[in-house]
Assembly symmetry: C2
Homo-oligomer: 417 residues x 2
Amino acid sequence: MKNIRAEIVTIGDEILYGQITDTNSQWISAELSQIGFKTIRKSSVGDEKEEIRQILREAESRADVILITGGLGPTKDDITKNILAEYFDSKLVINEIALHMVTEFFKSRGRELTEVNRLQAAIPDKCELVRNDMGTAPGMWFEKEGKVFVSMPGVPYEMKGMMSKYVLPKLKSFFKAPNIYHRNIRTIGIGESMLADMIAPWEDALPSHMKLAYLPGIGQVKLRITAIGDDPAKLAEETEQQVIKLQAMASKYIYGFEDDEIEKVVGELLLKQGKTISVAESCTGGFISHMLTRVSGSSRYFQGGIVPYQNKLKIEHAGVHETSIAENGAVSEPVVKDLAEGIRKKFGTDIGISCSGIAGPAGATPEKPVGTVWIAYSDSEKTITRKLQLGGSRDIIIQMTGYSILNMLRLQLLKIS
Amino acid sequence: MKNIRAEIVTIGDEILYGQITDTNSQWISAELSQIGFKTIRKSSVGDEKEEIRQILREAESRADVILITGGLGPTKDDITKNILAEYFDSKLVINEIALHMVTEFFKSRGRELTEVNRLQAAIPDKCELVRNDMGTAPGMWFEKEGKVFVSMPGVPYEMKGMMSKYVLPKLKSFFKAPNIYHRNIRTIGIGESMLADMIAPWEDALPSHMKLAYLPGIGQVKLRITAIGDDPAKLAEETEQQVIKLQAMASKYIYGFEDDEIEKVVGELLLKQGKTISVAESCTGGFISHMLTRVSGSSRYFQGGIVPYQNKLKIEHAGVHETSIAENGAVSEPVVKDLAEGIRKKFGTDIGISCSGIAGPAGATPEKPVGTVWIAYSDSEKTITRKLQLGGSRDIIIQMTGYSILNMLRLQLLKIS
């Protein structure tokens, strides 16, 4: 099967001059790859007529689909629509559906439609309207000798809404794209190369119509299986069978699928087991509590946390024995043990977790270099501890500690050791 | 003066397929604009020979400088170097300086140089070596008929190190770039349009060789003045005088310059005034403590924090009176007042700050919609409170609350009301 070749063109001086990050083109190409389209080039050009004309010509000569974002706002800088009209030898006419939508949009916000806004409803007469459910700039779908051009607004949530709901389904049917089935498997607590070694026999035995990609992030590695074929039900079934095989090999490290976040996964485990949790964190300075409470509804299991940055507060408010610090220093096993047990009892929760470490760049000693971190988990039956030796910046060390302790919590909740 | 035209080319399938965000090209174009170069196009192509050759030809036809990142690793996917050698009709030879650097790099990590690594020191004989102080892939500087091509690794910190130290100074001198003076002024606590109205008389009176840009972020607006001229000392002096005028108009909102972060600025104020601080935060779930402790050395003023998510813990551990909650609910002025005063006394600090609110999406009531947040500041002389009504997602509400309370703290430390 021939790959459909796509190009992405982002228009706007603000991207070109580095004032904003272009997140649109990454999102679009990831979505395209999900439906089997191959992005062959991404380009950004400024709000300049000749540049835009030129990139349209170039893209048309290379690709089957050209996806354009930006340059559709109501201000005078945004000239994309006029250039597209000219490029397709077309003239701008008010589109009644677009006009109705713009009018409703303003009405719902109690604002009056200005002439400038009314002109937003004008689109080239040779294109098809693509609805914008999130804003006022209409999308435009052009066809030319079997090729498709789609122009969308640059505001990310408007563009994403338009792509997901209208453009991607239309592209799939226009190009009669093959069926593709994706599965994202999220792992934690193991590095990319160790994971690759561990699952090599499984990976090598994957059928030829399935591909595996490794997508490493901070403290995590995501695996993505992509299967291509004719029968969607069969593809799904085959892929799920492979996932079951993979789980048998690496169950300890697989914590979720698709968009699962570790904080959401441990939250669901706590909820299901009816357990409550509290946190006593030193070197992470509030980040672990922040992770847990990023999840809406976390108040059902997260009772509270303490950040006893100073040793005095560790002793007075977080249950650390004076001798634990005096004999071992604040970054030590006895201190994180005291912290986890102390916070659990003080806050009256089923589980207490804790950490103490040197996030750097200051504060290191020869015995305890930057990145030395102790973490602990405590419940009514036991307290377990672990020493981490992390690398990277202060930020990375804080984040890695957060992921490590949430993984420790996950393994305990699942009774995996 | 003629603008130097630059193009940025990023190479790599992982960018093209949306697996990683391209942050390099944004950073590069922002740096180029600082030295007065104009980025006219950004392109991303995959690890494919013909695509790379084509983009080199195109970019050469349009731009004066072509900056290329990616495709220089030791693996077989990374083919940029060979294509560059061919493009400049050159052959790869081991560069002695590069070889020495690669060897030292591996020696310092206790690893042996493999043949694959040794080949990294081979560069086209018609280019000049650009040193990589952070990694093993050398940079390459080519000149052709007055145009410059620079090839750099795709790893962001290697590329940034190389650009800042070697490439940008060399580009400035090669193209005899005009003098440009930049000043970034950071504001907080005021929206973009209100700020624009407030400083309009000043902005309108700026001399024609100075430009002002508004760069809005979450809870903040950065202003950037760019001055272009011949005499660097005069440019600096003129710009600083404008900054003084601006400060007189908007002093309440200006918290810093250049890369200053609000958490660093309040940290320095606390340090200078010899004051310590503690935090009692409910809806932000640890984020305020995390912000303060992101700063290395924050243990000199940050004593600790508490996240009393449940009402019971607010009463038992954070100094909230039972009647405050019973009569007003947890999201109320009396509760944040109790929290700020309570944590200050319990943790024995000069200052206590607190918040309680509804971060959403769940938890709203008709009287207290999502985004209703109370914040408080307390010291030995007084306690002040403020109600915020914020919009956006849970994440945004948490962040906005953090910025608002650090700004409240800043204004109190500076005795600005």
